[in-house]
């Protein structure tokens, strides 16, 4: 395991959507964590194209990226945490152009961010999603109890992943660009 990889923890998600807004709401808490100098925390809601341009300008590059997101997926309990590793690959060009269209016009989507980052080759060694089940989308600034109870685990998972890397407590799943819009995971 390579230590001290330059790492970015990024939060992705809309505000004021209840549990779905956990990542941006957790951002100030993550930013306040005591983390080694090689780990930076940033909000990644300001557009995948702008994020790509930020990565292109970053010297030296981030070697590890951890995105905190909350995507509703079937078969999970609210607050359940999955750690996905991004395996690359791309959807067809029509889909990529649709991603750029959404991205350039303000749509916030972790899938778009992953695909556009992959297309413009800004992801280096490791990209992870810490994805927490938010349940159905509701308006508001409050979390449900399930999400609230998961917060210590979420912070702990993100921190461990950033400092130590994947450990035994994480059951790693895998995602790649050509299947991500079908909400499919892929084998390692």
């Amino acid at each position: 395991m390579a230590l001290n990889k330059k790492t970015l923890i990024g939060t992705v998600g809309y505000h004021i959507l209840g549990n779905h807004s956990m990542p941006p709401m957790l951002f100030p808490h993550l930013e306040a964590l005591s983390l080694p100098d090689h780990i930076k925390v940033d909000e990644l809601n300001w557009g995948p194209v702008a994020v790509v341009q930020m990565f292109e300008a970053e010297e030296p590059s981030f070697e590890k990226v951890i995105m905190l997101c909350a995507i509703e997926r079937e078969g999970r309990e609210i607050g359940e945490i999955d750690v996905f590793k991004w395996k690359g690959e791309l959807p067809d060009e029509e889909q990529i152009q649709a991603c750029v269209g959404d991205a350039a016009t303000g749509v916030i989507s972790v899938e778009n961010l992953l695909v556009i980052g992959e297309y413009f080759k800004v992801w280096k060694d490791e990209v992870y999603l810490v994805d927490v089940e938010p349940g159905p989308e509701v308006a508001g600034e409050q979390w449900t109890e399930g999400m609230q109870n998961a917060i210590p685990d979420i912070i702990s998972t993100v921190k461990r992943l950033a400092i130590e890397g994947v450990d035994d407590r994480m059951s790693l799943k895998f995602l790649q660009g050509d299947t991500i819009f079908n909400e499919e995971t892929v084998p390692n």
Binding site: G47, G101, T105, G106
Partner: protein, 624 residues
Amino acid sequence: MCFKNLPVAFDENGKAYLKEDIANPYEYKVVDLGVEQDKLKSLMEKNGFIRSVDYDPVTRVAGALAFHSVVDLKQGKVLSTNSMATLFRGYEIILKGRDPRDAAYISSRACGVCGGVHATTSALAIEMALGIKPPPLGIVMRNILLAIEYLYDHPLHLFLLAGPDYSEELVAATNPELIPIAARTKCKNKDVHGYDTILDIMKDLNPLKGQLYLEALTMTRVAREAYAQIGGKYPHPQSVVPGGISVTVTMSTLNEVYTRLVKFFDYGQKTTGIWDDVFDFFIEQDERYNQCGERPATMADTGVWDRPDSYDGTFENCDKWGEDRWSTPGVLVDGEVVTTKLSELNAGLEEFVEHSYYEKWDEHKYKIDAKGYPLSPNHPWNKDTVPKPGKQSWRDRYSWDTCPTWDRMPMEAGAYSRMYMTAKANVAPSSPYLENTGYSMKINVPKYNLPEKQLEWKIPKHWNAFERNRARAYCIPYSAMVALENWQLAQQLIRNGETAVSVPYEIPKTGTQIGFGAWGAGRGFLTHHLIVENGLIKNYQIITPSTLNAAPRTPWGALGPYEEAVMNTPVLEKFKKPEDYKGIDILRAIRSFDPCMPCTTHIMAKDTDHVVTREVTTCACGIE
């Protein structure tokens, strides 16, 4: 006399009054859209085929705006169109009861691209309601900020979103007969863009890989960098406040802005040269392209960019400071100017909800404005937003968008309306960089790497998809020159020691204050109507350009601008089997409006079971 349909007349002193001999002056006819649907159904039955279509959003994140058409592929004609907003956004409801100072920050979130214009329009509404006059440098910096926002927005649309429709890949798939002609057609503007043939341009318009596509991505970054110098961040600036801006402006700030702004001098020349070449080529190949997205040049624009020596924020003087703007507010009906006065623009506005998922409201509290102009019960100051979700029906209600009209006419909005209105009205004060002639706008672009050049945008004979985009391309040097002139004013103000950028103000704790903000978004007309009561927002109404453009039919059955433009669009695409039909002509027509909200288009081919579904994504700005 600017009103032909509203019951408003003017006396010999020019004072407006409500015509007295009409029993119910604001009454209007509501037509049964079922008649049209029955006709369409009967026509399709005769041809032996009816099919229901699922109009759900097609992706998880998109689908906020959808468009439905029925096309006769044999005749090459569009038979029916419906534009629908499929999401309720409800900023009007979110803002009710809040401190007016929150409005600029909250309403900015109505859009992921044009947040700055929403914030500014909100600030203007509060300035009018409370009588706040920003200092000159505050006004000038706001002008620069919003000109830069357009410099982000227009390249994004022209090259990332609309550009691919004219790329080699798309043209080869939809009109392959044009490719060999494009390969031998020489460009007229090689001196500014460097491309030898039209096909060379088309290749670089290819999505994701073309050099023009990639260059536009870079230019959006340049604009964002300049924007952040003043706004603090993009797309939701932190520094736009009622009474000016909240950031200290120094020569250093101006220098940082200028180093980015100059890049748009050459880019403006290049962009206009490219799109002139491409659009001229299409129209020279087939005159029927003139009908693509064609509708009368009936448009409304709020104007934008205030003169620091004229703007005082008041309703009383809004006609004067409005006409003094670098872009002229007003209304065009079939290409003719009917007003350039903000008070008349405001007084003629109405919003209808007969085909939208809202309750009608009963109150008619504001019968006249402060100048005595009669106001309809459907005027935004009288409107109440009450959502009423229901079943989608082409016969009845089918959109979350309302139907705004001016003088009972659907109005189109766009960056191009700003340019058309200003050129045609020819009332804007003189400028070293801009010259309006009544039939064109001349833009004097200074030297950067390219030599200086006078560009001229001419009011076109046909108002169609190609001309919308051509005018939008010219809005790049237009916006850059307004930014440059304001940048020079800012320098002078700082040299003179006039460094104040905002004024303090108090929100009155009692009484009622009323105002409206009028400022152009990247895609044109934007108004925020505000009523403050006892220190809190009592009513807030937003009309975005897409509220106008994506409107459903009026109660009396007139088509909304998207609907009308698509109805007039011929099918010029070449295909062997209906299944191969891609709907490129309709997509060009809709995309030329730069539709707000990720827009999904469904085209149903008559006599077939083929449904074309395409994303027409542009900005994520609000409809209602």
